[in-house]
Structure formats: C-alpha cells, structure tokens
C-alpha cells in the first residue's frame, strides 16, 4: 500500500512538472508569435547613441556602469552579503579535502601561471569598456589566483599570501569606492552615479582613458569581486 502511495506521489509530481512545462510552452509560443521586436526602442537608443553618450565601445559595459549602474551597485551588495555570510557561517576548522600533496609539476605550473593570470585579469578589468570583459569577469580571473594557491598548496599558504583581513578590507574599499565614484556625480552638480550626463569629458572613444568614470568603476568592481570570490571559496573549503 505504501509503495502504491509513493508511486502515486511521484507520478503526481511528474504530472505537475509536465503540466507546468506544457503551460510554459504555450505561453512562450504566444509571446513569440506577438510581433514584439518593434518595441525595442530603448535598446535601439542604446545601440545608436550609446557610444557617443557614454564613450564606451562595449555597450553592455555602458549599460552596466552607466545607464543601469544602480543595478550593479545592488548586485555588488548581494555578493558582499554572500561573502559576509560565509565568513561568519563557516569560520573554524582546517581544510580536510586537501590531504594529498601534488607532484612538483603541478606546483611549478601553478607558480608559472600566476603572473599570466594577473595580467589577464588586469587586462579584462581595465579594457572592460573597449572589449569583452569588465569588472566582474576580470575579478573572477583575479580570484582564481588565491583559489589556485588554495588548491595546490593548502589554505594556510593561500591565506598567508593573501590575509583574510586584507581581502575583507579590499572588498569593502571596492564597494565604498563605487559609491564614492557615484557621489562624484552629485558633487559636480548632476545626479548620483551620473557619468555620461555629467560631462567628465568622455575622451577619445577607443582609448584606454575614456568613457569618463567607467574604467574606474570597473576597477572598483574588479577589486570587490576578486576579493569577495576568494573569501567565498576559502570559507567553503576551510570547513571541516
């Protein structure tokens, strides 16, 4: 009887999911059939005017750091919250999974790779307004350095090289710097997080120092994301 019951329960859930899928299929189909591509005037404005208005060639970057920079502040806050939660939820204990020691090849290759990673991360962050990349991607690449150190040489070594307190400080400074850069707009008489509209001199489009505050905002987010992800990874792996 209980087996019947369990089977019935499973079937019931399956039917629920399948009916959700069919329902969604009908909805997507109807939405797709409505001709709604003509309504994209906002994105058309971004595409046609975005380069002149913000000075950044990468339109996704100009949406992220100029038109919708407030969202970016929010998401940076979410990441900071996650790092803060992890650092108090799992603070004690030593690493357990890394009892094994690697051969020399692994440790030497890691050492060899780290400068390249640093250069790649810096490039992605600083050229975020000109090429694919930006603060988030560059920050993730930067965070790979302490993560690699953790995996190859254990947490202790990684935390000796990059002190947890320093990482926390870097994260907070990145977040505060983002807000302060936003306040530059207020000081110069425009609105919060104003950049393209505040006439900081967009510079020559396509050069490294152009697009007003966007490279600096990218830098701040890069610092913040890199430090935050390193904190998150090390906290998760330290748990015993």
């Amino acid at each position: 009887m209980s087996r019947m019951n369990a089977m019935f329960k499973k079937l019931y859930k399956l039917v629920l999911v399948v009916s959700l899928a069919i329902f969604l299929f009908i909805v997507f189909d109807e939405i797709h059939n409505l001709d709604n591509n003509s309504k994209r005037y906002l994105s058309e404005h971004y595409i046609s005017e975005g380069v002149q208005e913000t000075g950044a060639i990468n339109i996704v970057t100009s949406v992220l750091y100029d038109y919708r920079a407030f969202d970016t502040l929010g998401e940076a806050t979410v990441l900071l919250t996650a790092a803060a939660i992890l650092s108090f939820l799992v603070p004690l204990g030593k690493d357990k999974m890394l009892g094994t020691t690697f051969t020399m090849i692994v440790s030497q290759t890691t050492k060899f790779f780290i400068p390249f990673l640093a250069v790649l991360g810096a490039y992605l962050i600083l050229f975020g307004h000109l090429a694919p990349g930006g603060g988030f991607v560059g920050g993730v690449v930067m965070a790979v350095i302490p993560i690699l150190l953790t995996i190859t040489y254990r947490v202790e070594f990684s935390e000796y090289k990059f002190k947890p307190a320093k990482k926390k400080l870097a994260e907070d400074i990145g977040a505060i710097g983002f807000i302060l850069l936003g306040l530059v707009g207020v000081v110069t008489g425009s609105n919060f997080l104003a950049n393209g509209q505040a006439n900081f001199g967009p510079g020559n489009t396509g050069e490294l120092i152009s697009a007003g505050l966007i490279p600096f905002l990218n830098l701040m987010i890069g610092i913040k994301v890199g430090a935050g992800l390193a904190i998150i990874f090390n906290s998760l792996i330290k748990e015993k």
């Binding site: 709604n36 309504k39 920079a69 969202d71 929010g74 919250t81 803060a84 907070d172 505060i176």
Partner: protein, 488 residues
C-alpha cells in the same frame, strides 16, 4: 530630491564602514551605528515631508533611459514605518546582541538598504535586485545565532525565497521581452495592447513569486521556523519590514503595471480576498497550538498579513486606506510584542509561554505594554489595531465581501483566545524564585516608545491617516502615477 537616493546609499556606506571598523577600530561600533541611524531618521523625515506631490529622481541623470526612483505617498508610508522602527531597534540591539555584533549590524543595514531600494524604485529589474539584497541579508540574520533550529530555518527560508525570486525574475524577463522596457510607467502603457491571457499568465507568476515571500497559506511553512531561533530584534524588522516590503512590491506591480480594471476583470481581487480569509483562519488555529512565544507571534504575523491582504485586495479607496493603516499598525504592535519578548529572553531566557509565568509582577510597565499591544493586535478599542481592523471590515462589507467581514469578526475571537492565554500566564502568581538580569534603560526605552505609539495612534488616528489618505489616488488611478513618472 537628493535625499531619496541617500536613503539607499547611507545604510550601504554604514554597512561597509562597519566591515572596515571591525578590522581596525572595534570601539567605535556603537556610536557609528547610532549616529548613522539618527542621520537616517532625519533623511527619512525629510523625504516623507516632500512626498506629496510625488517626486522623481533619475539615477545617473538619464531620465527615462535609466533607473528612476520615485517617492509617492505609498512609499512614504513605508518610509514612515522604517523611521518608526529602525532607530529603536538599533538602540535596542546595541545592548541586546552579544555574539557576532558587527555582522549583525552589517546585515541589518544592508537589509534596510534593500528595503528602502524596493520601496523607492520605479524599475522592475531594480526591484528584483533590491529584493534579493533584502532577502539574502535577512537569511543571514536568521542564521546569526548559529543554532540547529536557526540553520534549518535559514535553509527553508533560502529555498522558499529563491523559488519566489525565480518566478519574479521569470515574469520580469517575459515582461521585458513583451514591452522592451523596464520602467513601470512605460510597461503599464505598453501593456494595454497585450492580450488578456498573456497578461494574466504574467500576473500569476508575479503573484505566486511574491506570495511565497509574503507567506500566505499554504506557502507559509517557513515563516515560524525563521522566527523561532533568530535574534529577536531582527524579528521586529522581519515582521514589520521584510514581509511588508514583499506586500508593497506585489501591490505596486499589480496596481501600477496591471491596473485596477484588469485586476477586477481577471478576478484577482476575489482571489486575493478569499486567500486572505483562508490564511488568517488557518493561521489563528495554528497559533493556538503553539507553546513557543516567538512561533505564536510568527503565526499571528501570518494572520495579520492576511488581514492586510484582504484590505488591499478589496479594491476600493476605503480598502486601500484600511490595508495601509493596518500595515503601519501591525509593524508597531508586533514590534512592541517582540521587543517585550526580547527583554524577557534577555532577563531570564524565557522562550516558552510557561516561562513567563508571573512576570507581570516583576516587570509591571513592560507587562502592561505587552497587554496593550496584544489587545491592540486582537483588535479591541481604544487601540490602533481596532481602528484599522474596523476600517477593513467596513471596506470589505461595502464592496460586497460580506463573508470576509464576518470571518474577520470570527478571527478576532480566535486570536483573543490565544492572546488571553499568554496574558493570563503572564499574571499568574508563581512560587518559583526567578533569577532576573535587570534590563537597562536602552532596552526599555525603545519598547516603551513603540508601546505608547499603539495608544497614541488609537486615540488620534488622524496623524498617520493624513498621509495614508493620499495613497489611493495614485494606486487606483495609475494614470496619475504614470504621468508623473514619465515627467509630464
């Protein structure tokens, strides 16, 4: 309207500075948080004073190209709630919180920033981002005590809240793909040409997502677990602000984007009222069985939010006024009850109802406040809860929901039974010797302040009502809101 954006930045900056101060100068925590809360109170009053007629603030000076913040009477009412609750809770927590003090204040400030962002923003995706900020930091506060129950509650909270966010994000993406914009006013204009079925589907996604966060039956199961073993001052903010901000977002999305006519046509108003009635009856019955004081108050919160839902979904001017007044009153009453509970916990770690036996004679003033607040929440005159509940019943009966009015009266008796149980226990004499840590003034003062507001708003309801009376104008007729947001 520079102050509006400061309402979001200031808590964020404070939270980040607390993070730095934890590393280098630990001593300044109490002055830092209190000072920041006082400045925040000043900013809130400034913004609330200038909320009528509504003002728009363009973040990044992009106009309709970017994100807009808007202060209208509805959001001003929520800011008023933050103004009433935030400073007392901060002062209370400085003394009350013992472990992970820095983290507690970081998360509290982040949560407040998230709620202020949700309340102010007029952009659909921005709303989602700030919703995530507030719910993630709220999860963190549930886990703060690091006990078994707390961790379990956190996991349930995370699962449910992520599921809710998923549906909200899905609906937001589909809305963007239909309209090509994320500004609420423009979406509302574009939605006029969208077929009925698609609109109702989107609405059901929004409603489902937000209802999980609000916690109506049967999606309420996570709420008591998160209340049970979390820092009690956080519960004040949780029941007062976090759950209410989800109500705010739902009402804003429904009334501004979809419009009252569509809500009426699609039957959403009837569903909302019916759902509310079911919820508060079940929640009252569940509350009656609880022996843990925090859980009892949590179920009572679920029931009160159901009353609010009824008020807001009646769909008339009176209903909206009543619902909003009850939002404010519930925040104050539940805040008082939780603060008194927190003092009992602080003084003799009382958790269960039987633990507070005889405390009525040890803490005469605090117990009196507890009685006042619980009678107010039951809905007896002359307290504030009575007035807003009466207004809800009146509005429900006027617009034809007679059964809702009838069941609210039944619900009042149900809630009277379990609150009486607590009050009787409180004043039962006991022979047991009690070891009591005397609560300091910084614990008692915020409690007494909130308790006196219960009486004040009951005797002179015209003070908050002068603000609340302006709300329906911008919700029932979304044309006015849209015109202001578009800069007409």
């Amino acid at each position: 309207m520079e102050a509006a954006v400061w309402l979001i930045i200031l808590p964020l900056l404070t939270a980040f500075f607390i993070g730095i101060s934890k590393l280098y100068f630990k001593k300044i925590l109490a002055p830092l948080v209190t000072g920041s809360a006082i400045i925040y109170l000043y900013l809130l009053i400034l913004v609330i004073n200038h909320s009528y007629p509504p003002k728009v603030y363009n973040v990044g000076a992009w106009g309709l190209m970017g994100i807009n913040l808007m202060v209208d009477p509805f959001s001003a009412m929520f800011l008023l709630m933050i103004a009433i609750l935030f400073l007392p809770v901060i002062i209370f927590s400085v003394k009350y919180i013992k472990s992970h003090k820095h983290k507690y204040f970081i998360f509290t400030y982040l949560m407040t920033a998230g709620i202020a962002g949700m309340v102010l923003t007029a952009d659909l995706f921005n709303l989602y981002v700030f919703l995530e900020v507030s719910s993630l930091s709220s999860c963190a506060l549930v886990a703060l005590k690091n006990t078994n129950k707390g961790i379990e509650g956190t996991f349930k909270y995370l699962i449910m809240s992520t599921l809710g966010s998923f549906f909200i994000l899905l609906a937001t993406i589909l809305t963007y793909s239909l309209t090509g914009t994320l500004n609420m006013a423009e979406i509302s204009l574009e939605f006029k040409d969208i077929p009925f079925q698609i609109k109702s589907t989107l609405m059901s996604f929004f409603v489902f997502g937000y209802v999980i966060k609000i916690g109506l039956i049967p999606l309420h199961a996570w709420i008591p677990d998160t209340y049970e073993d979390s820092p009690i001052p956080y519960n004040v903010l949780s029941s007062g602000l976090v759950m209410k901000s989800a109500v705010y977002a739902l009402i804003k999305v429904l009334y501004i984007i979809f419009g009252i006519d569509f809500l009426d046509q699609s039957g959403m108003l009837h569903i909302g009222v019916f759902w509310g009635v079911i919820t508060f009856i079940v929640a009252h019955l569940l509350a009656y069985q609880q022996s843990n004081l925090s859980r009892l108050l949590a179920y009572s919160s679920v029931a009160q939010i159901a009353y609010i839902t009824i008020g807001l979904f009646v769909g008339t001017e009176g209903g909206l006024i009543a619902g909003n007044f009850h939002i404010l009153n519930h925040a104050i009453m539940k805040g008082t009850l939780f603060l008194v509970t927190a003092i009992f916990y602080y003084s003799l770690s009382a958790v269960k109802i039987e633990d507070i036996k005889g405390l009525g004679y040890k803490f005469p003033i605090l117990s009196f406040i507890f009685v006042v607040a619980s009678l107010a929440i039951v809905g007896l005159p002359p307290f504030n809860g009575f007035i807003s509940k009466w207004l809800i019943v009146e509005a429900a009966i006027e617009s034809g929901f007679v059964y809702a009015g009838f069941f609210i009266l039944v619900g009042t008796f149900l809630s009277l039974t379990y609150y009486l149980k607590v009050i009787v226990t409180l004043y039962t004499k006991t022979e047991k010797e009690l070891l009591i840590v005397k609560p300091t003034l910084s614990l008692r003062l915020p409690t007494i302040f909130l308790g006196s507001l219960c009486i004040l708003f009951g005797i002179v309801p015209s003070i908050p009502l002068s603000l609340i009376n302006k709300i329906p104008k911008f919700l029932l007729d979304n044309g006015e809101y849209i015109r202001i947001l578009l800069g007409g």
